[in-house]
Symmetry: C2
Subunit: 160 residues, 2 copies
DNA sequence: GGCCTACTTGCAAACGATTTGCAAATGGAC
DNA sequence: GTCCATTTGCAAATCGTTTGCAAGTAGGCC
């Protein structure tokens, strides 16, 4: 995972004890597991699965079930977003102010999901009128096709 | 399931033996189970799950595994589209010419998924340039919120 | 500091939609 | 009819996710 944002989930937060402050701000207890999970999330960006976060944690930090429960908590508190992949696997991403909601690209060939930050056309940001009177709260836009990586490989194979 | 289209999956098709013709057109064998499944699909519209289709079939038509295999075939042949719900469940819908790709609305409260036919703004039909050079082949747009049905119930409760 | 209670955790078992292996049945070409 | 690839039912496996529960812990209070 690569770094993109610096604990900006809560505006005007000091550098020290960020994890603890974030946890307190959502009324959750500060436990070693949660602090380590937040710190690990801090060092990464993009989409990740519960499994992936679990593997990135220092050995023995938390059980996989605990990771799932923590991610569900973050989603409930709007500190993370949940994306269901086509394969039914749950992906998460932090919802800090530097990482607003954005479209994703899912590769049909390799299955990888890319974040498309800052590429949503202006017009797409306004929800269209919903003809059946539903109360729209959010949109998710997912493009599908063949990613640049896989396109490259296919070209290479074609040459051989 | 409600009726919306009349075997228009294949242009200029006669009314008789439609199911058989459709199956032949995709190079699949014409079996009783497949014909009945197509006929059942014909009598419905909107999203459905493998389970739902299975329950709508005449008793003993096909095993649930067969339904799954048939739906996978239809998707492979572009006669059906597959949508993964937030809950990870697979939904299908027929991709006949009267039922082009469209956005969906998923209710956070009751979980129901609505088809939003003909409400996609013109601008949304043109894929935005994909900054990372991926080959975009399709878009899926899913709105989320509270459906009109649930909104009504909530209002009613508020009054009491 | 100790006490108390509600919240957290690890563990293992359950879950449930979907997939798969396999042997028997059958479609369709000849 | 013969033959072979395709299709099927059945039951078991899959696997990411959820859950029950007993033991552990955070943090408010005195
Ligand atoms: Mn993203
Ligand atoms: Mn639809
Ligand atoms: Zn790819
Ligand atoms: Zn609803």
């Amino acid at each position: 995972m690569q770094t993109i944002c610096k604990w900006t989930m809560i505006p005007s937060m000091e550098n020290a004890c960020q994890a603890a402050k974030i946890l307190k701000s959502i009324g959750a207890r500060v436990t070693p597991a949660r602090v380590l999970m937040l710190e690990t999330l801090h060092s990464g960006c993009g989409l990740f699965t519960a499994q992936a976060l679990h593997e990135d944690l220092p050995e023995g930090t938390a059980d996989l079930a605990t990771v799932y429960r923590f991610l569900a908590l973050l989603v409930r508190k709007n500190l993370a977003r949940e994306v269901t992949g086509t394969d039914g696997v749950l992906y998460y991403e932090m919802a800090c102010s530097h990482n607003p909601s954005h479209p994703h690209f899912e590769c049909r060939s390799c299955g990888r999901i890319y974040c498309l930050e800052g590429c949503l056309p202006e017009e797409w940001k306004h929800f269209p009128a919903c003809p059946q009177g539903h109360g729209v709260e959010s949109v998710s836009v997912v493009f599908r096709g063949t990613c640049s990586n896989c396109l490259g490989k296919l070209e290479k194979e074609a040459k051989e």
